[in-house]
């Protein structure tokens, strides 16, 4: 049982409260999803549940929080540990021991359980999560998904009544995310643990939860069952990423199609929309053929073997043209990053040849390549070291040998384009997540590269920032440049890319237009395509990928 009575919290040093007058009641055994745009107070809310607020993060708190009969303000986090367990975003940062067994024991040792109890609890939680094979493995050898499972196991060992998970999947690949979420579902379903889950990828979880709370600007602006929440269109406006099927149904409703409910899964969608598609879905879509420019990246028979002996790329040949928007997809360790690192010369071919704009990467330094190929990494923080935004952007040009006025004018141009003018004298790390992403982009694009590579830029990114970024990338591409996107995010690819290259075990498995690759695929199909596949018998084109396309077809 969780109760919050007119809870208001303000971080020390902040002028605006992070939580404003929250009144909530969560019953035992409920599965609650907390969502909303970043900065809306999701994490703050959850940290109130186990006393990290106010005991760990100082600040001013008014109102009352009661968890399992304990007043959180009077009981510090360590006393609440057996009532509320907390799983954090980055699995790397919540593991403190060197191997799995010791990790699970850590909390129990702190609570001074005797040895035999600890042994039993370790056994139990390893089995519950199905990770007993990992027991003696060192943590740094595990994958992200496995680490997150260990984190959950270590919380579960304390036998909490409530488990709070703060975006547990945002650092994981789709497979890891799916595994973690199915475990979370089991915790709630089989063990009856109350689950509070923060997540912004709604398509993954929406069908699992009993209740959704939407946080925006410190308030809980919506609270109720998933179908009710999505019935009103307002929450899309504040930047919550609505799953494509729900979006489709919402739009259809707005256009006057009578549908009595909101589908939460593809299966529900098929049942609900069958009639609509049968009646209207016989149009053919205009084919969007883009004119390709001349080839800019030519990869011939590329092999790469890492010094440790791992063969990451096996005989890859590719040709990518100017003005293409290419998505590179594939499982973890399928060679995606290895491949794109060859394009800007971070890695050199073991065998074969890579040429960018006619230059063989083996004969150019990374710095020379940087003039032609920009590379944006997942975490913008890895880019930022300078004292001001301006210096940060100028650094790239200085490296490339530009001087004086040229630097100033180009930096100005970049700051202008990315709406960073007003921050030019600020410390980059004090900016918000979206602004930092823009600084990172600016610091790469200031060199005016013809090719831009982005490695997992949307992982863990909220919906609004994602669409902002994608809009920019399309603009950039329309100016005749090439975009290469390494990603797991099928929906983004379906909406924005032209061409998809699927890698597996270091080889190109499929290479073709996004319609050919993403439709009719099992794992790599976007939600709407999986829906449409069932209606091909009615003459509905099977290569529809996004909600907007489906809408065009139906209206």
């Amino acid at each position: 049982m969780i109760r919050m009575d007119s809870l208001t919290f303000c971080y020390s040093g902040a002028s605006i409260p992070a939580l404003k007058d929250i009144n909530l009641e969560i019953g035992d055994g409920e599965f609650v999803l907390v969502t909303g745009p970043s900065g809306g107070g999701k994490s703050t809310l959850c940290r109130c549940l186990n006393g990290l607020i106010p005991h760990f993060h100082g600040g001013r708190i008014t109102g009352r929080v009661e968890v399992g009969g304990l007043d959180v303000i009077k009981h510090p986090t360590k006393e609440l540990a057996t009532t509320v367990g907390m799983v954090f975003q980055d699995p790397e940062n919540q593991l403190v021991a060197m191997d799995v067994e010791r990790e699970i024991a850590f909390g129990l040792e702190n609570l001074a359980f005797p040895r035999d109890v600890i042994a039993k609890r370790i056994e139990e939680s390893l089995d519950t999560l199905g990770i007993s094979s990992l027991r003696y493995r060192p943590l740094h050898e595990l994958s992200g998904g496995e680490k997150q499972k260990v984190a959950i196991a270590s919380i579960l060992a304390l036998h909490p009544d409530i488990v709070v998970l703060d975006e547990p999947t945002s650092e994981l690949d789709p497979k890891g995310a799916e595994e973690v979420l199915s475990i979370v579902e089991r915790l709630n379903d089989e063990l009856g643990i109350t689950v509070v889950l923060i997540e912004h990828r709604l398509d993954r979880v929406i069908h699992l939860v009993d209740r959704v709370i939407v946080m925006h600007e410190g308030r809980a602006i919506a609270d109720g069952g998933a179908r009710d929440i999505f019935d009103n269109g307002e929450i899309a406006d504040i930047g919550v990423g609505i799953p494509p099927i729900i979006k489709l149904v919402q739009k259809l409703k707005q256009k006057g199609v009578s549908l009595d409910n909101i589908p939460l899964t593809v299966k529900e969608g098929r049942v609900m929309l069958e009639k609509v598609f049968r009646e209207r879905g016989r149009k053919t879509l205009p084919q969007d053929e883009r004119v390709k420019g001349k080839p800019i990246i030519e990869i011939e028979n590329l092999w790469h073997v890492y010094p440790q002996g791992l063969t990451a790329l096996k005989n890859v040949s590719l040709r990518i043209c100017e003005g293409e928007f290419v998505a590179i997809m594939g499982r973890n360790a399928s060679g995606k990053s290895t491949l794109v690192k060859h394009v800007n010369g971070l890695l050199k071919p073991t065998k074969g040849r890579v040429r960018v704009a006619g230059i063989d990467t083996r004969e150019a330094t990374i710095a020379e390549m940087a003039q032609r190929v920009g590379y944006v990494f997942q975490n913008p923080n890895d880019h930022l070291f300078a004292d001001t935004v301006q210096e940060e952007v100028a650094f790239t040009l200085k490296n490339l040998g530009y001087r004086g006025r040229e630097i100033a004018s180009r930096v100005d141009e970049m700051l202008e384009r990315f709406n960073l003018k007003e921050y030019s004298r600020q410390y980059p790390r004090s900016l918000s997540g979206g602004e930092r992403q823009r600084v990172a982009l600016a610091s790469v694009l200031v060199a005016h590269p013809q090719v831009l590579i982005l490695d997992e830029p949307t992982r863990g990114m909220e919906y609004r920032l994602k669409s902002e970024l994608m809009q920019f990338l399309e603009e950039y591409r329309d100016r005749g440049n090439t975009v290469i996107l390494v990603t797991h995010d099928v929906e983004t690819v379906a909406e924005h890319a032209d061409r998809v290259i699927l890698l597996g075990e270091g080889r190109v498995v499929v290479d073709g237009s996004k319609r050919d690759v993403l439709s009719q695929a099992l794992l790599f199909s976007p939600q709407v395509n999986r829906l449409v596949q069932a209606f091909e018998k009615y003459g509905v084109p099977g290569d529809i990928l996004t909600a907007d396309e489906a809408l065009d077809l139906l209206i």
Partner: protein, 241 residues
């Protein structure tokens, strides 16, 4: 008695043991003592004493997480940055940590640097002395911090520690592997790494001169955000409600 006095006493004892006494062959103690052994035992005791001191002053998970993270960073900087001989970014980081977070944290960060990085580079008889040397760099840096001394002092301090580190490591080497222990052998042993130490000192000077103030600002910003509570700082956590 405060543990820090014990630490201070031990440090003094080591200095006398390895620097002063053996250099006077007429002192009767020399006949009885094995200076290599004595120096090793004393360095180890100092480290242990600081471990106990840290236990007393580290209040919560915050201090523990911070000191260990700084130790890791510093240790990691020792591992892949060996491209330039002698230049050690870890000394720079230890000094900045001590400057901002006080003597005990400074010592722990310095000691972690050596202990942890040697799990990767290889432990040896040098480990306790490296822990001792870097730890001491952290402790002394805290006093530069306490008096709020500026960039010039940081640079001088960095140069001094470039050489002092060498002096401590050589003194160990001398007391253990050189015979006889006289002033003359001491001087020659100390000069053997002069070239290396000069690079270390120059490296420190450049690191601290160009980036010392900036790094200290980063650490200080963090310290304020963190309500750092170690070593006689007023713990200004505003009370809830």
């Amino acid at each position: 008695m405060r543990k820090s006095y014990i630490c201070l006493g031990l440090i003094l004892a080591i200095c006398i043991a390895v620097f002063v006494l053996p250099a006077f062959p007429s002192c009767p103690l020399n006949a009885l003592m094995n200076w290599g052994l004595v120096a090793g035992v004393l360095a180890t005791l100092t480290i242990v004493a600081f471990y106990f001191e840290f236990e007393m002053v580290a209040l919560s998970s915050k201090e523990i997480a911070l000191v260990s993270m700084l130790g890791t960073i510093s240790a990691v900087l020792r591992i892949p940055f060996t491209a330039m001989p002698g230049v050690q970014p870890c000394t720079f980081l230890v000094i900045c940590s001590g400057y901002v977070f006080g003597p005990v944290a400074g010592f722990m960060v310095g000691a972690m640097t050596a202990l942890v990085s040697n799990f990767f580079l290889g432990h040896g008889p040098w480990t306790p002395y490296q822990m001792f040397a870097w730890g001491l760099a952290g402790v002394t840096a805290a006093y530069i911090g306490r008096f709020n001394l500026g960039r010039i002092w940081l640079v001088i301090f960095g140069i001094a520690w470039g050489y002092l580190y060498g002096v401590i490591m050589n003194a160990w080497f001398w007391a253990t592997f050189v015979y006889p222990l006289t002033l003359r052998t001491f001087v020659v042993t100390e000069t053997n790494s002069l070239w290396f130490d000069t690079f270390h000192a120059i490296g420190n000077a450049i690191f601290l001169g160009l980036f010392g103030v900036k790094t200290i600002a980063i650490l200080d910003r963090f310290r304020k955000r963190f309500n750092w509570g170690l070593a006689s700082e007023p713990t200004g956590t505003p009370l809830p409600v």
